[in-house]
Every structure is written in C-alpha cells, then in structure tokens.
Amino acid sequence: MILELSSISKTFILGAERIEALRGVDLSLAEGEFVTVIGSNGAGKSTLLNVIAGTCRPTRGRVKIAGRDVTRWPAHSRARWIGRVFQDPLKGTAAHMTLAENLALALRKGPRGLGLALSHAKRKRLEKALAHLDMGLESRLNERVAHLSGGERQAVTVLMATLAQPKLLLLDEHTAALDPANADKVLEVTERLVEESRITTLMVTHRMDQALRTGSRLIMMHKGRVHLDLGQEEKRNLTVDDLVGLFRRVGVTDDELLLEAVRGRSSA
C-alpha cells in the first residue's frame, strides 16, 4: 500500500464551536491507483488531503505512506514522497522567478546543497518536459511565471508536482479555478502525466462527471466520513444522476450539491 489511513479524525475548535471535519476515515491506496474524491461542501475532502500532506495533524488516527508511519512528520519531511497541486494556480509556483527556475526547484525533493540550480543538462531536460505538455511553453523558459496564464501556471504546477516522481500525487480541486477550456486542458495533462509515471493519485473534484470519467476508483465523502467507495467496474456504468441519487440517500439535499450536479452535466 502506498497510502494507509486508519481511523483518521480531525476536530477543529473555533471558539465555543467544535467542527468535526473528519470522523474516522479508513482509506488505503494501492500502487498505481487513481482515486477521485467527491463530496458535499464541508465533507472534509480538503482536510483529508491536508492530513495526508502533513499541513494538518489529525486529532486521532494514523497516516502511513509507503509503509512508514508519518503521522507526526512535518509537511516538508514527507514532501519527498508527495506531489501536490492546489486549487489556486498562484499557490504552486513562485511568480517572480522564471519558469526554468521554478521547474528546477521541482527536480529534487528535500534539502538542497550548493550545486548550480540550472545546468545546461537540466535546462535541456526541462525543455523536453515542457514540450511534452504541448502548450508551447518550452520556448518561454526564461520568462517570469507571473506572465503565464492561470491555465498555463496550473499545467506547469502539475508537471512540477510529478517531475521528481513522488509516490503520491494529491490534487485539490486543481481545475476548479480555471475556465472550462483551460480546465479540460489541465485535466488532460494531468491524466497523461499520471498515466505515464504511474503515480498513485488522489484527486478531489467538485465535478461529478470528471470524477466518473477520470481515474480507476471513486470515493464519496459526506460529513467527515467515506460513504461510498467504487472500483473501476462499478463506476463505469454510473451516471451523474446516479451519483446525485446516492448523495440524496446519505442525506445530502442542499442546493450546493444540485448546483454542482448541474454544473457537472452542462460541461460534460
């Protein structure tokens, strides 16, 4: 197992209020699995990714990555196994540095030494990786990332997250802030890179059609619990309407969910 979560709970205390973001989540990911995660607002999807990445420590439970118990490890220490892409395209890159410098940072995971960040060989390698994105970015290595569009930045972030061959890729609604055309392009790039590198992937998405179409397994979360865990075969025959029905059954009736279902269908 690449990832093993056992009875993960996370309670946030905001003043007098206790928010139970996760209530005993058990989840195991085998090598090479591509799992999509959907859920209503406040289902705990992002908290789950934060617990795995180490930016949030669970109140209870254990996190194991590649067989090692990393529950108490700080985020930067487990980062050597994890690639991560956030919803906000601005979060994944350093705007004032060049594209080449950004990518060079992603070539290695972990502490750095005094070796040159960009050698000729590295530059060639990065150029090749960029050309593979098929977005014409390979000729813009010396441009500042701030000059790139949101879609371009997010595609670069996905590339950066996979460049050092992590064991686990965490995608947190990484196409949600993009316009439909860019979202499709970034998703296409993501699927291609994940397929080629066989990285085990956990992708949170608000689009049910995306969740059904992408990946080899689908998880539905609600109120801090995993309510549904479907394999490749089971999800193949499912439609967005089926999913909405399944959400209804666990008690999700809020407008937010309907809105997402509609959004999902219109762009499908």
Binding site: G92, M97, R112, G113, L116
Partner: protein
Amino acid sequence: MTLFVHAVEQGLIYGLMALGVYISFRVLAFPDLSVDGTFPLGAAVAAALIIGGWDPFLASLVALGAGAAAGAFTGILATKFRIQGLLAGVLTMIMLYSLNLRIMGRPNLPLLGRPSALTATVQALHLTPPWGLVLVAAILAFGFKILLDLFFHTELGTAMRATGDNPDMVRAFGVNPETMVILGLALSNGLVALSGALVAQYSGFADVGMGVGTIVAGLASVIIGEMLFRPRTVIWATAATLIGSCLYRGAILVALRYGGALGFTASDLKLLTALVVLGALMAPAIRARLKGEEA
C-alpha cells in the same frame, strides 16, 4: 571631486549593508529591523577586538559572524516561536543596544591611529589616494555581490528566493521554509555587521548610536537602485543596490555640505532620508491614482 570620491567610498562600504537589507526585504520579504542593532554590533565587535590588539581583518570577520548569529536569532524568534517578524527584529535590536554597550564598555570607542582592514589593503596593494580606497571598497563590495549572485543561483539559493515568493510551494518540494528564513537572515545580518565593522574602521570610531536608521538607509539604497534600473534578475538587483547606495551617500554628502545654506543641519538628515524613502514608497500608489483619475 573629493565629494564624489567620498560618496563612492562610503556608498560601497555601506553597500554591503544595503545588500543585507536587499536579502531580508526583497528576497525573503521579511521586514527585518534587527539591522539597526547588527550594524553597530559589527562596529562594536571589530572596534573592541582591534583595540584589544587583534588583526583588523580577523576582527571584521568575527564581526560578520556576530551579525550572522544575531540575524539567525531573529529568524528563530520569527519562525520557531512564531513571533511577528517586525517585532522579532525590534526585540533583537533592543537587546543588541545593551549588548553593544557591554562589548564596547562605553558609548564610543575611538579607533584613531589603530590599524584598519581598508587602509591596510590599500597599502598592501601600493595604491595611492584618492582612488586607492575607492578601488579596495569596490573590489570588496562587488566581490560580495558576485558571491551573493552565485549563491542565489545554487539549489539552496533558489529555494531561498522561492521562500520569499511562495513558502507553501517551497514546503511542497521538501524544503523547510523556516530554515530558509533563518539562514537568509543570518546571511543578511552578517553582511550588515561586516559593513558596520568597516564603517567603524573607515570613520575612526564605533558609536552605540550609529545604527539608528540603518534600515531606512538600506531601504533607500535598494529603492533608489530599483527606481533607476528596474532590475529583473538578481544580478542586476544587487548591482542596482550598490549603485543606489552610492547615490544615497552622495545625496547625504551634498545635503551636509550645502544644506546649511537652506537652514538644514546634520540632525535633520534622518528626517530627509525617511522622506526620500517615503516618497519612493508612495510613488506607485500616487501614480496609480493619477492614472485612475485620467481614465
């Protein structure tokens, strides 16, 4: 002519301090006020050691180390103990005020007639005034500038630059941004203290009050350089900072010499400096407002 020579000499020697401020303010985006304490710390350490019979080069090097330690202290306060950056710097600065007095034993240590690393180098290279000292200062300042440029193009240096830009991203690539801040502030304050050590040897004394307004002077140099050259790479930014520092010192020397006619005295200097920095900081907002009204 002598005014020009002095402006360049001082600009380059104080330029090391400006490079330090460039690291904290621009690279790390950390408003570090410890420099007001580490600049006189460098002066105090070097002066006390030189008077104690130490070699001035060695004394300057120890000053650099002392500054780096003080910078790291501010960094640790700000990261490991989550004290606001601004406050962490102020606390270090205040602690250093007492510490500097203790190191010197009194508020002012004269160095007249004592060996100086700068004049020793001028003599060793058989250089003559007025350009000898300028040349030595230039070699020193640009030497450190090139070292810094090289550092910021290493893997570690790139990670440090990215930390000021986007600490989350740096963390995601397995680098602890806290370590980068501590290291960066050590580097920054090491340079500031070295600058203080050299200024003490250059002007012939160390004074406990010589650090007041260091941060403003450093920022002024960085901003003047940025306004004139609009640097887009580290190499240009550090060069612009050194040139900005020379222009700033030149402006001060002019103000000191001719300001009297306008009724200014030396004590008005800090006010004038702060006004220059204020003007530069307000310029973008004013420009935007003017543009907005035109549109």
